[in-house]
Subunit: 194 residues, 3 copies
């Protein structure tokens, strides 16, 4: 981690900002190696396809433990300098699904509009979309976003909310994210400082 | 109550699962007998029409008292073995409307997607649908769902959310609910364990 | 304030009810005079255009300070007799945006349907509508509503939710609000007491 941070500092001193993005796969089975993590790679592929600014992932796979998820979000935000943290998994109604609670515990403020929109777009596909409790929030200058576990649902949700993410990161004083406009058009209001 | 539980155990020992569903009418006036309870019977009629598995109602009519509502939800879930508890009434903005707060106090986790969808479908009928604060949550292996008080609104809301209820009850390790597919098609994702 | 209250009492003793509506502009810059308050006047203009009952505004411009916003909402509700309090500004994800938290701290119960509908209508215009955390709640007999800061968004949001506001104020035992039906049709369910 120290080395990672130094490497970021080195890039910054060369006037290159490399945006760090945390990708947390929350899954008991994947964390024990009983199951291949498909959610984390799906998020990484999506970001590679969509982002046009330099970025690097900080990925991890952890169990569905409330405190562990909260601590991992805090560490990625505070120690690893992630400007955006995306979780996958643990958002359903089952006993072990605690990602939204862990996210709320790590965040200063919540953004209910993300969950509302993601459920709305998923609901066009499956009626069980209402079972998803996924949300988003802000910790300091870091945006934290929950996604479901299924790769197909991950893409649907990201397509829906990504246009608002770069401006959100601007507003919380994070780095400037840019996107491939052929793929996702990041919206910034007219008059927003460039 | 003891007798009811023994009766369920007897059925289970014969390999017959009878799903128990709590129906709580929350209304000061109905609880004092000043007003006929129309919400509770509307829910019962709906379930009779839609469910194809054996089930039995555990119904009660109580006043709009926060602690009483919370305790009744807990009792129906923990002592009476209800897998699904549906409330009617007490979800508006008035001073005595406290059903959502009582539900949250009884639940381990909340499912905001239910309230969002029910308000959305009610909003197609009346602009005052946004005044409803109805929600859903999970206590242990029991799904708790708030509905409004009016029989017409009860049916609209149940039609909207019922397709997701059987799979939700699966996920929280409750019994397998089945529906009359001509009436409501319960959705379970491909690959969900039967 | 004492004088204001006496004036309301005088009107009431003449059998004239003048509805008082609090308008709180939440903005660090406007409160320091560095920026013209445009949100507060936009709300006032809207209400003048839409309400057909006698009403008077109680307006103020305050900084984005959690405790100050909460205290101002409480004062307008409890001391100044406002039946409706509308805030503008401070609903985004930025560090200084704390109006929703301040509103929740001042309210007895929350009405999530307002925020959901306002985000939905704003989302038809801009994808960043999901960043707004605006909500509504009830303190005693007072409805508290958050609006965004931009005058255009203020009108869009009020057009969406205003049809439900007069009946909401009825339900919380506030005064009877009436609207110019050419402009906004206030909905009261058939059978609601006049």
């Amino acid at each position: 981690m120290q080395q990672d941070l130094r490497s970021v500092e080195a890039h910054q001193s060369m006037n290159l900002t490399i945006v760090r993005i945390g990708i947390i796969t929350v899954s008991d089975r994947a964390s024990r190696g009983e199951y291949e993590d498909r959610g984390g790679p799906a998020i990484r592929d999506y970001l590679t396809e969509v982002l046009s600014c330099p970025w690097e992932p900080v990925a991890c796979v952890i169990a569905d433990e409330l405190e562990l998820i909260t601590d991992t979000i805090k560490k990625l935000a505070d120690n690893d300098g992630c400007s955006l943290i995306i979780t996958t998994g643990g958002t359903g109604p089952a006993r072990r699904d605690v990602t939204p609670e862990a996210t709320e515990a790590a965040c200063d403020k919540m953004l209910p509009g993300f969950g509302e929109l993601m459920r709305k777009v998923s609901l066009e596909k499956v009626p069980t979309a209402i079972l998803s409790r996924q949300t988003a929030g802000v910790r300091g200058s870091t945006l934290v976003l929950n996604l479901p576990g299924q790769p197909r649902a991950i893409r649907e949700c990201l397509d829906a909310v990504f246009p608002a993410i770069p401006y959100c990161v601007d507003l919380i004083e994070g780095p400037r994210l840019t996107t491939d406009e052929q793929r996702i058009r990041a919206y910034r209001p007219p008059g927003a400082k460039p």
